[in-house]
Subunit: 209 residues, 2 copies
């Protein structure tokens, strides 16, 4: 009999938790909406509460502070990116799929400027991702490294150069041609340029041996 009750309790707890998580997700979604409208740093907790049919103090049932909300958004954004990345097939031609990977990443950034700001720029005073959220960002980086490995790039310095190229294209696109493709369309050339440089150096390295 006590077992029966225990099972019921667990089911109730699970259902409650599901409701809680669902509500948390809609709050985060509305926070993105507000951020896109007013700017990332201009999110108001009172306005946010209004949009999810809560009173402002009730938000504290879901987030300990405004920074905790930013952390949830940071995690959410990284999960979105991971999902998008997972859909790019590694493919038979690793160079072509690296181009596709880069173009996808660039489009992801230009699609949502404030998301790009939160994920890739340290712009909110006092905000530092939690360990859990930071781990998601690490997964994104690891996925990129795997793509580079597929074309034979493993040297840390070359990985750094590639990340600089990627973030530079994204940044210029977002800052100077939001919604356009002025830098996105340079993705293919950028990759060719990068890989040609890698080839040139490995060849030279071999010649010296």
């Amino acid at each position: 009999m006590t077992d029966r009750i225990a099972i019921d309790d667990r089911q109730i707890v699970d259902r409650r938790r599901k409701r809680h998580d669902a509500k948390r997700a809609t709050i985060v979604a509305e926070a993105w909406e507000l951020a896109r409208r007013d700017g990332l740093a201009a999110i108001s907790l009172r306005q946010l509460a209004d949009r999810v049919d809560l009173r402002q103090p009730s938000l504290y049932a879901y987030f300990d502070s405004k920074l905790a909300l930013y952390d949830a958004m940071f995690a959410d954004g990284n999960r979105q990116l991971l999902e998008v990345i997972a859909q790019i097939p590694p493919g038979a031609d690793p160079r072509a799929s690296l181009v596709a990977f880069l173009e996808t990443a660039l489009r992801f950034s230009t699609e949502d400027v404030v998301r790009h700001q939160l994920l890739f720029q340290r712009t909110i005073p006092g905000f530092e991702p939690s360990a859990e959220s930071y781990a998601l960002a690490g997964e994104v980086l690891a996925a990129g490294r795997r793509r580079l490995e597929a074309v034979g790039v493993t040297d840390p310095e070359e990985v750094d150069l590639f990340t600089a190229l990627t973030s530079g294209l994204a940044h210029q696109q977002v800052a100077n041609d939001p919604g356009g493709d002025r830098w996105v369309r340079q993705a293919r050339r950028a990759i060719e340029m990068f890989l040609a440089d890698v080839d040139r150096r490995t060849r030279r390295g071999r010649a010296q041996r």
Copy 2:
């Protein structure tokens, strides 16, 4: 006699204006200080007023709004960059001086993260540089273009690729290794990579003719 008075008036107005401009400059300097300490978006006008021995409302004699203060900082930062750039000699070897140019720009960014944020990232909600301030940013870009011209790069797409490379190195340096040189030391390689790509394509272009 009226002439004499008019001249005196002008002198008084000039002196007043000079005092005003000097005070404005110290306010901007203190604002940078605060931004470095608390973050760019976390500047408080009351704390700023305290630091320059004024009451908070008196700041409005110098700036119409907080955004106007950011605008003055934006202009100031660009003037600083122009000054630094002007000190890099074009030199006999245009490639070497392009490397020096890039390294200087990168050091400028890493030297002061919040300055880099204000100048190159759209991060303050509602802030848009005024026409005058934006013109200074244009001068910086023009200076960069002249350096590229010196090594034979004039194609707008190639200029775009170069700006992406520059901002990417700066961004990665600032975001992931502030104070270090992990990306700064890739400046030379990045330039070689870029120019090799430009060469490769112009040669290919000639061959097709």
